[in-house]
């Protein structure tokens, strides 16, 4: 945000993810809070941003295939051994 006056919905929505992460500075947080105090739609957008943010974080994992895991664990077993390729020093 660049100004110190009231903000509209577009500016409020643009900063919701940062608010969800607690990364807005104090002034921007206050301006957003003032907007949310009267804008029901942006309150809905905020609740949705929380869910969407959580989905992206918690529901995008990729399991390691068994054969890949076996090969990578074999790499780990060989780490820091003379044959494991560690560069001394």
């Amino acid at each position: 945000m660049t100004t110190h006056g009231p903000i509209g919905c577009q500016e409020a929505v643009a900063s919701l993810w940062e608010m969800v992460d607690g990364r807005l500075d104090e002034l921007d947080q206050q301006r957003l809070d003032r907007h949310l105090a009267w804008c029901l739609r942006c309150c809905g957008e905020l609740a949705f941003a929380r869910e969407l943010r959580g989905m992206l974080r918690d529901r995008s994992g990729v399991a390691v295939p068994h054969d890949v895991r076996r090969r990578l664990e074999s790499v780990i077993d060989g780490l820091a051994t003379p044959a494991g390729g560690e560069v001394p020093g």
Partner: protein
């Protein structure tokens, strides 16, 4: 050469972080994930003594993997350095859901929409994003690096990363909607009224 205790600790940390490293490699995309993780493990071994705080091993290993990935993408000429950020238009998934109302009998429309996405679905949607959006989103919102750290990892100015994150969020929402329509997660009637999704 690492001592026995150091080696044991390194191996324990690597085993512990292996699933997360592989996931990150897959999410970043553009390179063979197994090779990325292997290079990461070997580089971590060479610099293990620079890791002062073992509690920070998770972030330390992810930083190494991202550096390995970035170097490889740059070597292959695939890193979109300072590409001007496209105007993705003003798209709000929240508003689109209200307007299209794909679950007319639901009292929790927005939550129900997100609930239809499996891990596989979310991963596919992420893969659809152009690299200039996917990498910042993954590093910022999944891996938890702050915007300045993301800029440093990607060798980009802070302002560029902030723009990419903003546009990337909108593009992610747009792709979620498009994917939901294509894969039948929402009823056809939601798009029949105005043709293709926004």
């Amino acid at each position: 050469m690492l001592g026995v205790d150091e080696r044991t600790e390194l191996q324990r940390l690597c085993r512990q972080e292996l699933p997360g490293l592989y996931s990150l490699a897959r999410r970043l995309g553009g390179a063979e994930p197994e090779e990325l993780v292997q290079d990461t493990l070997e580089r971590a071994c060479r610099s293990f003594r620079t890791l002062r705080d073992r509690q920070a091993a998770c972030k330390w290993l992810r930083t190494i993997l991202t550096n390995v990935w970035r170097d490889r993408m740059r070597r292959d000429g695939r890193l979109p350095d300072q590409v001007p950020v496209e105007d993705e238009g003003d798209f709000s998934l929240y508003r689109t859901l209200e307007e299209e109302d794909p679950f007319p009998y639901s009292d929790t429309l927005h939550i129900d929409f997100l609930g239809g996405f499996s891990e596989h679905d979310v991963h596919v949607v992420l893969e659809r994003l152009p690299l200039r959006y996917r990498a910042p989103l993954v590093l910022r919102y999944i891996e938890g690096f702050d915007a300045t750290e993301v800029a440093s990892l990607l060798d980009l100015p802070d302002g560029t990363v902030m723009s990419q994150l903003h546009r990337g969020r909108q593009r992610f929402e747009r792709e979620l909607w498009a994917y939901a329509v294509e894969s039948g997660l929402v009823d056809d009637h939601a798009t029949a009224r105005d043709g293709t999704p926004a």
